[in-house]
Symmetry: C2
Subunit: 450 residues, 2 copies
């Protein structure tokens, strides 16, 4: 689920940034495994398919007529079925060769299912507690089965809108990010493994290009995909299109997104890609995964927490006071970064952990050099994180194509636009002052000041 | 010809940085085209081979018994034959599945021939004036034919040792670097093309790992490959192994080398990879090519010019005064960067030039933003360039495995070590102060001050 879209998505062919022929061509040329026998399933045909895969059928127990199939995809890209039997259940997810909510006028590679499964498996290896297990993958069908996250699991974004606290959220998300990012970076792998994995995920270029388009390009120009709360935010949207300094920051971040293969990132780690209960946190939907800058993941998560914070004042129609909840969100934001940093460094210094090629033990012999190297690494990562957090907030979430339910669910446009403007101003500040912000506590101060 | 080696190369398996089993494994797994029918040629069998390739035979004219075959490889990695006939000639270069001067105990992927040819063709497309034309490629044989660069073409390094001036050198090298680097970067290509090309060149990982080992790792630790003018430079080599600040700079450069896929770089652009006459400049041997940071190429060339400069005082046994020649080298160094910058920016602003995805025209609309973006880009590139120049000088050229003839040809060890120490001190200064150096003129001042 890459986006929560209100209104109609149109292709940005006018702007020249979204090249449909290249997309179609790459369907034929870049696919590691061509989907020659693809056929889309429906609620009516899922059970037949499951019956044909014995280990899946066994997992459900009973026989075909006892199985319940329910389509629950949120309607943007894929079909998602919950399949339940007498003794078990799973989720079946199938990609279509186009963007589901637009139709076949916007083709999109089926190979994204392959990259999603590969990322789930790789991340799951390093962090099984927070990544659902994959049971089955059918490459030609662009379809896979994975653990069903049963209620009370809900999408984190919906929990944040409802004002629900998740006491383990920062602990779990910092764990997930530290382990997946550290273990797929050159801190833990050889350059031989790294280059092979980078090459593989270069095949996910279509999804990367979607991010390039909607995060780094369209919000900064006139594009038919853009929309915002109008007329309230007309001037704000215009000021973004005319902010040269902001565009320079965005250029530098885009170059990192396109060129820096630091780790296998989730690629779309917003609060809609996380499912939670009071005890459990599960990261789903890594179909945008590729080798990119770590800060893009951490920034996406922290930026979306900030959006949740700024939207809270619009959720008080029930006369509830959200002040305490807002403080809780800030605490999660702060703890997530601080815990991430701590855990990342623990992995780095853990003697039982396999070390990669970045800092050969024979060279970095002194404890002080190690500590200084870590300080520099984390400082760079912090700056990247804040930059990408700001970029994600501005673009996909406020003036770009893909908005978030946090704001969209605020019905009063005056109230909504006030919340959005505050989020926007914070994001701009973050992008421009990130090199001067020394700690996450200073970021929190900046949020409060808006 | 990746190196000029004096003495014996040994595998660095003790240090754990050079992993032979992984190398052997990757021979079998990463090769885009497996060399199933490889057989090494010799002076005696080259003519038979050429006869079997009609367009090559035609190029020579006459028949087999009229052709002259001469092996001229400098003995490190490959075999290089000059083949001459009645009406034409070419060079035939064949890779062996190991490092030639060590033997089959150091295996090395035959696929390097494929990457060398691919890079020659790609760079040749953008800069045919300075890249020899490829006539033929036989993938399974790891063999290709290209233009023979007839005398008076000589290796630039030898010309610099002899004290010969090449009036067009800066003009040509700046042209070569500006055009090959710009045109293979996201300034000129789409991210679709870029990711496909990055993936392809990830296959050249063995050669990348060789660079990682000899440039970024071994000079900073005790390694059996290292050698230096001893005992004169014993303390200097030790001080490098103990310089924590230097190691941090090296870590940051290594991370760029391994992670930043900015352009298709030559990968080994020292003065031994350039052949020159008074009118012609030809860049050869890009077998280390991959998508990496542009500064690695520019830094290699400028760093090797600096080495040539520092070695001049050792070449005055004929009582010639090299002062004027030294000034000429500095002028080339200065002009190369300044002309590169000028030409690179010209390509960037040329309206007839195809623009890539880095700076979408719809976003970067104002002239001032463009100018500022270019200034930032070139500033970053300058800093990378100086860093890599320093790293190349220290490592492969003075205390690492692969020395340069510039110094090796100075017979008196006292005199040689004095030259080497000056080069070493400049390189260290460059690495540590590069962020404060505002122009190439300040770099020249730093050279003079040593």
């Amino acid at each position: 689920m890459f986006c929560y879209v209100q209104g109609v998505i149109t292709k940005a062919d006018e702007s020249g940034t979204f090249d449909i022929p290249a997309f179609v061509k790459s369907l034929a040329t870049t696919a590691p495994g061509k989907a020659t026998t693809f056929r889309p399933l429906s609620e009516n045909t899922v059970a037949d398919y499951v019956q044909s895969v014995s280990h899946l059928a066994k997992r459900l127990g009973g026989s075909k007529q006892d199985w319940a199939v329910k389509e629950v995809g949120d309607g943007n890209l894929n079909f998602v079925y919950i399949v339940t039997g007498a003794s078990g259940s799973f989720v079946l997810k199938q990609a279509l060769p186009y963007v589901r909510c637009v139709g076949d006028s916007w083709p999109l590679s089926l190979e994204r299912a392959y990259f999603e499964v590969t990322a789930l498996q790789e991340h799951g290896k390093h962090c099984p507690e927070h990544v659902p297990e994959v049971y089955h993958f059918d490459h030609p069908m662009a379809l896979f089965a994975m653990r069903y996250l049963a209620p009370p699991h809900i999408i984190l974004r919906k929990g944040l809108i409802a004002g629900t606290k998740y006491p383990l959220l920062a602990e779990h998300m910092s764990d997930y990010m530290a382990r997946t990012l550290f273990n797929t970076s050159l801190l833990a792998t050889s350059t031989t493994e790294h280059k092979a994995a980078v090459a593989k995920f270069c095949g996910n270029v279509e999804l990367c290009r979607l991010t390039e388009q909607v995060v780094f390009t369209e919000p900064y120009m006139i594009a038919s995909n853009n929309h915002w709360t109008t007329p309230q935010l007309d001037e704000d949207a215009k000021s973004i299109r005319e902010d040269d300094y902001l565009k320079l920051e965005i250029a530098s971040l885009k170059s990192k997104f396109c060129e820096k293969s630091q780790a296998l990132i989730h690629g779309d780690l917003h609060t809609g890609s996380v499912m939670v209960t009071q005890e459990s946190t599960q990261v789903i939907d890594p179909e945008f995964a590729f080798y990119g800058p770590m800060g893009f993941d951490i920034g996406a998560f922290l930026g979306n927490l900030a959006l949740a914070y700024f939207s809270q004042d619009g959720h008080t129609s029930d006369n509830s006071n959200r002040d305490e909840y807002k403080e809780w969100i800030l605490k999660v934001l702060q703890d997530t970064w601080n815990l991430f940093k701590e855990k990342f460094l623990l992995l780095w210094t853990d003697k039982s952990q396999r070390m990669g090629d970045a800092y050969p033990a024979g060279v970095y012999t002194s404890l002080e050099t190690h500590k200084l190297a870590q300080k520099i690494y984390l400082r760079d990562l912090f700056e990247d994180t804040l930059g990408f957090a700001g970029a994600k907030m501005i673009s996909r979430r406020i003036v770009g194509i893909a908005h978030v339910e946090d704001f969209e669910s605020i019905e009063n446009p005056e109230l909504r636009s006030q919340c959005e403007r505050r989020a926007l101003n914070f994001a701009k500040d973050l992008l421009k002052t990130r090199s001067k912000l020394a700690s996450i506590e200073e970021v929190i101060q900046l949020i409060r000041k808006v």
